[in-house]
């Protein structure tokens, strides 16, 4: 089977990437640029959440966004229309961002000029979790319609993230999503995971997330 060969290749790439990510993080610390890597499935609400977050924080922090997408500029245009700087990375066939790609994005946007940069990673619960982007913090969104069993299926994503936003809580009555079950699964993998229940559509609890970001940036600088 092909699998073994592929694993070896991947390990080499991952080990090079870990080094590049570490160096990038040191550079960001020296510059005092706080970078949050936002990961989620397609359609979980990454861009909507960012728009809500930008609205709350753009008057007090200099915010930039690095958008990653296989093949479109839809999201970067939405972000730019919200009044903050955005660059788009087209990843082609790649289902993740690595530290070298993020570095190219940070150079493109001019990271030194920002207090806070969000990376909107490719929509995917698998590969983005495997590649350290060099970001200071990892945040993930799980949307209610995806189901409460996702930590069982994508454990690494729930392990590498510092905070989990459970989005689309306004839809919970339409589903059999059990928040207690979700919390149990998540805390089993990651006992000190911060979990916020939000709706980027209604704005519910987005203030709690904005507070978390504000505090994190303040403690960093």
């Amino acid at each position: 089977m092909e699998e073994v060969k592929l694993i070896q290749i991947k390990e080499n790439i991952l080990s090079d990437n870990d080094q590049a990510a570490g160096q990038l993080r040191e550079k960001l610390r020296a510059e005092k640029t706080f970078v949050i890597n936002l990961m989620a499935s397609p359609g979980a609400g990454k861009t909507s959440l960012l728009l809500q977050t930008i609205r709350r924080l753009k008057d007090e922090l200099r915010i930039g966004v690095i958008e990653a997408d296989i093949d479109s500029v839809v999201d970067a245009e939405k972000i730019r229309n919200s009044g903050v700087a955005a660059v788009q990375l087209r990843t082609g066939g790649f289902c993740h961002l690595d530290a070298a790609m993020v570095q190219a994005g940070l150079e493109g946007i001019g990271s030194k000029d920002f207090d806070l940069i969000f990376i909107e990673n490719v929509g995917n619960l698998v590969c983005p979790a495997e590649f350290d982007t060099g970001a200071i913090k990892n945040a993930m969104i799980l949307s209610v319609p995806e189901g409460d069993d996702k930590p069982l299926k994508y454990p690494l994503m729930f392990t590498v993230s510092d905070i989990l936003l459970v989005n689309k809580t306004d839809m919970i009555h339409m589903t059999d999503f059990d928040m207690a079950v979700l919390r149990k699964h998540v805390l089993g993998l990651h006992p000190d995971m911060e979990i916020l229940e939000v709706s980027a559509k209604t704005g519910d609890n987005i203030d709690l997330w904005a507070d978390w970001v504000r505090r994190a940036v303040k403690n960093f600088s």
Copy 2:
């Protein structure tokens, strides 16, 4: 940047895989085993759709299911409880199935003994579209909460699939999902894509999908 190196590696793997997938498809044709590769985002409803499909077809067709997951057996257990054979492939860090992995799954389940085998691919709109599994047909699910802009972001998935099931239509009133916009985006990429609007939860239009599967199997054998 690391990207160029990674592309070369991937192309080699892809070209080997295309050959393996072609050979596997020939074998399936000779055996008269119809294989459908089902792809979607995490939580779009792959397993729920399969359970509804199995209920409608298991008395007339010998059905097997190959489940792929990074790290769990949740779905295979649900499928087995529905009364058909299932095997679980644990893909580890891999975000897709390739033809060699599918071949291992088909050997595990004993493909000759089945009229119809479903492959439930890893939950992901990127990598599964890049790897030919050797299946006879590709089906994809897009769930309404993911949004009507997904063809713009994940065009390859919509290009390689033979049929698109738009699932969770029971939630459409809770969203700004525009079915006409979705259809326009999809048909722009893939003019003869078959599109069915279904709800695996309520069972709405699942009979149309079961008819499509029944006809496809009949025409194949």
